[in-house]
Amino acid sequence: MRRVTEYILIFVAAVLLQVFLFDNLNISPYLYPLFYVIAILLMPVDMKHARLILAGFVLGVAVDLLSGGAGLNTIAATATAFVRPAVLDVLVGKEALHEVGMPLPVGVGRGRWLRYTAVLVLVHCTIYFFFEAASFRYVWYTLLRILGSAVSTILLIFFTASFLPAGKTDGMSVR
């Protein structure tokens, strides 16, 4: 039960931070952090694929509704949730995953975790910005937006995840 509450809290916090903080930073179109992806990244490792996809969908809808995104966030978040298990398997590896409930840097190792985050955030940003541009007319501009936004998102998520309380083997906060 504790575990469910914890994930709902992460979910809500991610959406609120995105809508009320990161959407209003307005630094530059090249640096638009899609921070809420953290909720997909931190979903439990053993979560059923279908549930994960549904969670991604709900996450996207929540952000879309609150920020007037008209479906963009839903498209990207559902796709990111869909590819997560595969990315987790390939980049983190099965042996590092058992006994880890929530994939956190301390649980799976910083290097691995960073690679896992980078790939998923890149997938998310690529889908988001290409769908937003809806044309290949200014493709270099779109690529630059993907790169800048992905890097800022990865840094923010890495920073945040490093501060989250983690239970590696004792499972205090994940079970």
């Binding site: 809508v19 009320f20 959407d23 209003n24 930073l25 307005n26 630094i27 530059s28 179109p29 640096l31 638009y32 694929h49 279908a50 996809i53 549904l54 969908f57 996207g60 509704l65 609150l66 920020s67 007037g68 008209a70 479906g71 963009l72 839903t74 498209i75 559902t78 796709a79 869909f82 769908f131 937003e132 541009a133 809806a134 044309s135 007319r137 200014y138 501009y141």
Partner: protein, 282 residues
């Protein structure tokens, strides 16, 4: 039959994924600038008050600059009044016909964005304060920043200049050449002025002002020419215009209503540059 069931059991996440994506893409593809602005206006009711609290704190940091701008505007307005008063003495016959067709109001921006390709901002006034759809929005120093798209009682969602469906007629300073001003979704400091013929005299630094617009009075500053290019077919100039308004630092705005908007829009709305990009999606 059993095999079919097993097949579904094995692959149903994929079917679920495809179904949800089709739903989302379908909704996104079917959305126009109208859908999005309505969405922004609806959620604006919920999020609006949170934003107004946040922005009332932020406002203190821009007070000094805003104050200066307002004083300058006031001085210019006083000058104009003085000038008109002296003219009216001589020419009382015209007094009736100079009655303004524009009604002004002020509001405060509570939420703004420049990072998307179709940006909107929310202001803290709505139908209760006499705000109507299609009012033009100007920055405190009088530069074009957008127009009101939809209103609730207390808030209004406005289409920003930095929205690919925004467009306004623009005239080159010092000449009679005019074209259509729009944003191509790239640089948030610049918009494009197209349809200026190649034989026009253009120089970097020329001002561009609104013209033949349904929403804005003629002569509102849009920006200054920052670079000169030719269009793809080489017949026209493609001018990059540095915006006069600081879009990433909007706080107080002026709203202007053209009192004959509905009449003129109903009669010949499609001939105005304001409606050129309406609802269009690349």
């Amino acid at each position: 039959m059993y095999k079919l069931v097993q097949f579904f059991r094995k692959y149903y996440p994929i079917f679920l994924f495809v179904l949800l994506e089709v739903l989302a893409i379908n909704f996104y593809a079917g959305s126009t600038s109208h859908t999005r602005a309505t969405l922004v206006a609806t959620t604006g009711k919920v999020t609006g008050w949170i934003y107004s609290v946040a922005s009332s704190v932020g406002d203190y940091f821009s007070l000094r600059r805003d104050n200066k701008v307002l004083l300058e505007r006031l001085a210019a307005a006083e000058n104009r009044v003085a000038m008109l008063q002296s003219a009216a003495v001589v020419d009382t016959v015209c007094a009736d016909s100079v009655q303004s067709r524009y009604v002004f109001a002020t509001a405060r921006v509570v939420s703004n964005s420049i990072v998307h390709q179709d940006n909107y901002f929310i202001i803290d006034k709505g139908t209760d304060d006499g705000i109507e759809e299609n009012m033009g929005v100007l920055s405190a120093d009088g530069a074009v920043v957008g127009y009101v798209h939809s209103c609730s009682e207390g808030y209004s969602a406005c289409v920003s200049v930095l929205n690919r469906s925004f467009s306004v007629g623009g005239r080159l300073g010092g000449s009679e050449y005019f074209g259509s001003v729009y944003w191509n979704g790239t640089d948030p400091r610049e918009v494009i002025l197209s349809d200026i013929p190649r034989y026009a005299d253009v120089a970097v630094g020329d001002t561009v002002r609104s013209a033949y617009s349904l929403r804005f009075p003629s002569g509102c500053l849009i920006g200054t020419v920052s670079s000169i290019d030719s269009s793809d077919d080489g017949v026209y100039y493609m001018l990059r215009i540095r915006l006069g308004a600081r879009m990433n630092a909007l706080s107080d705005v002026m709203l202007v209503r053209f009192t004959d908007y509905d009449e003129l829009n109903g009669l010949a709305g499609e001939h105005f540059a304001d409606n050129a990009h309406e609802g269009k999606k690349e």
